[in-house]
């Protein structure tokens, strides 16, 4: 398996196979980020494809000072924000489609309800705070990396993350208490 830097260098010289491999390796993170931003998987996959196309077009400008994944997150976050601006209707979390939850014998109705509750609580956050929360909680980026990805000051990352968490703690209070018991 070729390492990422080699694939990037080859893709920068127009190798579509290498870029396809980069897409395959990074698609999960990009789709996850965009999906958790907009709450609709079809919309998210379209937006993620758009993000990868932008990445291809601007690949010659990528310099491996920062991780490639973070560079993609920056593009994906901007595409997701553009999508949300265009598709304002999806911001209304009450109109979001219910998601198909994988069934297993252990899955209870209560668990499915909780998942849906969490999803709606996250999607109800303001987009600026949501994207910071997603990059921290789901993608595991440091504050500095988030600041670089979103091109915002470090202090803004902290304040938006604190805000998002405090909102979620309010919204998810019943479930947070349940876990204690």
């Amino acid at each position: 398996m070729q390492d990422e830097l080699t694939l990037i260098a080859q893709a920068q010289h127009g190798d579509r196979e290498s870029f396809g491999e980069l897409v395959r390796r990074n698609q999960e993170g990009v789709v996850s980020l965009v999906y958790r931003m907009c709450g609709d998987i079809e919309l998210a996959e379209d937006a993620a494809q758009e993000a990868f196309l932008r990445a291809w077009q601007n690949l010659s400008g990528y310099q491996p000072k920062a991780p490639f994944r973070n560079w993609l997150y920056r593009i994906a976050a901007n595409v997701a924000l553009d999508v949300l601006r265009r598709e304002r209707a999806t911001v209304d979390v009450d109109e979001l489609p219910l998601v198909a939850v994988e069934d297993s014998p252990d899955d209870s109705l209560e668990m499915a309800e909780r998942q849906e509750y969490v999803r709606r609580a996250v999607l109800a956050l303001p987009t600026t705070s949501r994207v910071v929360l997603l990059l921290r909680e789901y993608e595991g980026l440091s504050y500095k990396e988030i600041a670089d990805v979103l091109n915002i000051p470090l202090g803004t990352v902290m304040s938006r993350l604190n805000y998002a968490r405090s909102k979620l703690r309010e919204a998810l209070a019943p479930y947070l208490q349940v876990e204690v018991e």
Partner: protein
């Protein structure tokens, strides 16, 4: 540390505390049930958030990658000319600064030369300045010293005006570059 700074607990939880702040907070944590409870809540919140997963009906990675490849434009990126353009674009502020410094040096040297020439009664100026012509037009009678002063002030005013135009052009180009940089950061990346 005696208070319960929630943001510090958040920083600690996210692994963002370093050095003495980390040691102080860890020491505080040993004797502070409130901060320990705060950390536990943050942990529970993280675990709860993990239930917001991707739906099961999403496209498989291979299929997704194949779709992206199909949508890639036929024309390949052209790193050579793009990197040349990018290099020029990145060098623009330095080039503008160089032009500014050069222009100011030219204006300063020629201005000083003109001033010295005027003060020493030199005859470098072949034509009457606009100020002399204006005074004559207004019917003023000028002796040689008054004429020399008006000549000098009138010519220097042209230099100042030219310099202002030059500075405005440099400023305009710089603001244009800043705007393009901002648009690039915002739209492309």
């Amino acid at each position: 540390m005696s208070g319960h700074d929630v943001s510090l607990a958040g920083l600690y939880y996210d692994g963002e505390l370093r050095g003495h702040r980390l040691h102080h907070f860890e020491a505080h944590l040993d004797r502070c049930p409130t901060c320990r409870a705060e950390l536990e809540t943050l942990g529970r919140l993280t675990r709860l958030l993990q239930s917001f997963t991707l739906p099961s009906d999403r496209t498989a990675p291979e299929r997704f990658a194949a779709r992206v490849r199909l949508r890639l434009p036929k024309s390949q990126p052209q790193p050579a000319w793009r990197s040349l353009l990018r290099g020029l674009w990145q060098a623009t502020p330095a080039l503008l600064f160089g032009a500014l410094a050069f222009g100011q040096a030219v204006f300063a040297i020629s201005g000083i030369a003109l001033l010295m020439s005027g003060l020493t009664g030199g005859t470098t100026l072949l034509h009457d300045s606009w100020l002399v012509r204006l005074a004559l037009f207004a019917g003023a009678v000028l002796d040689s010293s008054a004429r020399a002063v008006l000549q000098l002030v009138g010519t220097l005013s042209w230099y100042v005006l030219l310099n202002l135009v030059f500075l405005s052009v440099i400023a305009l180009l710089y603001w244009g570059w800043l705007a393009s940089w901002w648009a690039y950061r915002r739209a492309v990346l």
